[in-house]
Amino acid sequence: MTVREEENAGTAPAIGRDELLTLYEQMEVIRRTEKAAHDLFLSGLVKGTTHLAAGHEAVAVGASAALQPGDYVFATYRGHHHAIARGAAPAECLAELMSKGTGLCKAKGGSMHLTKASAGMLGSYAIVGAHLPMAVGAAWSAKLRDSGEVAVAFFGDGATNIGAFHEALNLAAIWSLPVLFVCENNLYMEYTPIGAVTPVGRPAADRAPAYGLPAEVVDGNDVVLVAEAVARAAARARAGAGPTVLETLTYRHFGHSRTDPAKYRPAEELQQWLQRDPLNLARQRLTSAGVPEAALTAAADRAAAVVAAAVEEAKAAPPPDPEDAFTDMWADGGSAWRT
């Protein structure tokens, strides 16, 4: 145990073996969905772009485990893992990527805008930084209604350099709102190393003190540590103590988007991070907690079956109806006269 964990022992609910096995299975589902999305893209079946979150699974699954069903999550275009962790089915996500009529948003969102409001997944946003002030607003609503809910904004390291990040932290801080700012620092803003365009070592955590906010740097590949950190921050927020900045350190396994082969990343760096694969870390924890290998294999097999079925379902789904492009435009339901 690190000093930090000892300090915090007792403040966060411990994650038991059974729960950890479930979290591991969820991570397997996400990993396999992302792999399927990659393959579908390469075979020309995904029309549009994809930003895969393979490698980031522990952030989404760990955070989700520590949140309540009524909490709000705002994610980025790299958000498939958050949608699935909050309860979206792989089939509806893949159908959305493939621009099918059965997609999560009837193909109107695409890969970058997975949204499932019924599951508290209040959207993925593709204008970098845009959703941070929105999470602040959602948190404000929770405070006004004294609902005990928290809002969580996930964002990349690159987003910490856009004004919206700073405005959001400031607003959340002055109003002491129940919002968690969770940075998924994967070391790159697209093709540029974050260190080359940021004057501090921890782009999110190092900025928090300027707004009087507490921050924690967390191993984003360890689902248990993420869950514990989010639970602590959420507990603080629910207790009225205001926002927290969490900087989770992680790494994407694929390139930035589409077919980016990510050649700009040093081979040793990639190797190091692949060894710290969040799925492996979870398996190690499970094994040392005495979970038999067969149980791990069974979980992975279940995940594989779910994703294989999802791929078939999405492939077989019909394209969107051209008429759907004109629906849901205005409050009165019309649109024809305005074209």
Binding site: N161, E190, T339
Partner: protein, 327 residues
């Protein structure tokens, strides 16, 4: 003459601009080491150094704000906005500062900033990555707004924009980046068609088809297809959207008596509305039919599998051409 893709022609034009004036700078997300997501700035950082080709943080408002500051101190920054939809965080800087500073300073301050924006759809890239926001800028006094349509114009227009003392919003037709054309890279820009002039891209007698950016190619193809129906279509590439070259436009419409305007942006309150009003005011007694408009629908950019329904294509353009003969 050399055969270049449109994106390569822009690259060569930017290279010339960097060579000709040490005050020219290029800035934007991933424009340096990567050479930009569409490789328009490929190799420029290597050849001109990190002080002139700058990989910026992700901060559109900050990028344009910084460019304004540089321009205030005598530089000529060229900012790349990665995709059309990412310009909105910078709109405040562009509309409230860049466009107004000259006016506000009684002409004492020039802001020779170029904002390059890959625009339009057709590459399966969905909303934020397929938009045509030109009228936001044409509606703002103080900005020049131009759109290149082919490699030759890309090469000259980018150089003219960089040397222009007004701020220029420079639209690049992203689905045409890979289109090839003949470019005279040895020619200077002094003798080229000025930046604010339209160009008759194909002469015709029966109907004028006005277009710009990505739809110029579509309109040229439509004009060729229309020959089979015995229609002679004149295609005018507007090039400059603000100011508009009404001289070339009205001369063409007076000759043909019919006019169709096509753009990817929604028809509603689009540039076509302004052009239709002007043509009607200035060519009323020459018109055989009302000015018709073809464009995107008044919806957000649609799902990728539906974009071919949204983007004006040969059928929709030819249908409008036909309708001008029905009055």
């Amino acid at each position: 003459m050399t055969t270049l893709t449109l994106s390569r022609a822009l690259n060569e034009g930017l290279r010339k601009a960097l060579e000709n004036d040490p005050k020219v700078l290029i800035m934007g997300e991933d424009v340096g080491k990567l050479g930009g997501v569409f490789r328009v700035t490929d190799g420029l950082m290597k050849d001109f150094g990190e002080n002139r080709v700058i990989d910026t943080p992700l901060a559109e408002s900050g990028i344009v704000g910084t460019a304004i500051g540089l321009a205030l101190r005598g530089y000529r920054p060229v900012c790349e906005i990665q995709f059309d939809g990412f310009v909105y965080p910078a709109v405040d800087q562009i509309v409230s500062q860049l466009a107004k500073m000259r006016y506000r300073s009684l002409g004492n301050v020039a802001l020779p900033v170029v904002i390059r924006i890959p625009c339009g759809g057709g590459i399966g890239a969905v909303e934020h990555h397929s938009e045509s926001p030109e009228v936001l800028f044409t509606h703002t006094a103080g900005l020049r707004v131009v759109a290149c349509a082919d490699a030759a114009d890309a090469f000259t227009m980018i150089q003219q924009s960089v040397s222009c003392d007004d701020p220029v919003i420079f639209f690049e037709p992203k689905r045409r980046y890979w289109d090839k054309g003949e470019v005279d890279t040895a020619a200077g820009v002094a003798d080229a068609l000025p930046l604010d002039r339209a160009r008759v891209a194909l002469e015709g007698a029966d109907v004028t088809l006005l277009c710009y950016g990505p739809l110029v190619r579509t309109c040229l193809e439509s004009a060729i297809a229309a020959r089979e129906d015995g229609r002679s279509v004149e295609v005018v590439d507007l090039r400059s959207l603000s100011p508009l070259d009404t001289e070339v436009i009205t001369a063409s419409v007076r000759k043909t008596g019919r006019c169709v305007v096509a753009h990817e942006a929604p028809v509603y309150a689009g540039l076509g509305a302004e052009i239709a009003a002007r043509v009607t005011e200035q060519c009323f007694y020459c018109l055989e039919a009302p000015v018709l408009r073809v464009g995107g629908f008044h919806t957000p950019y649609p799902p990728s599998r539906l974009e071919e329904h949204y983007l004006p294509d040969l059928d929709r353009i030819l249908d409008a051409v036909d309708r001008t003969f029905g009055y």
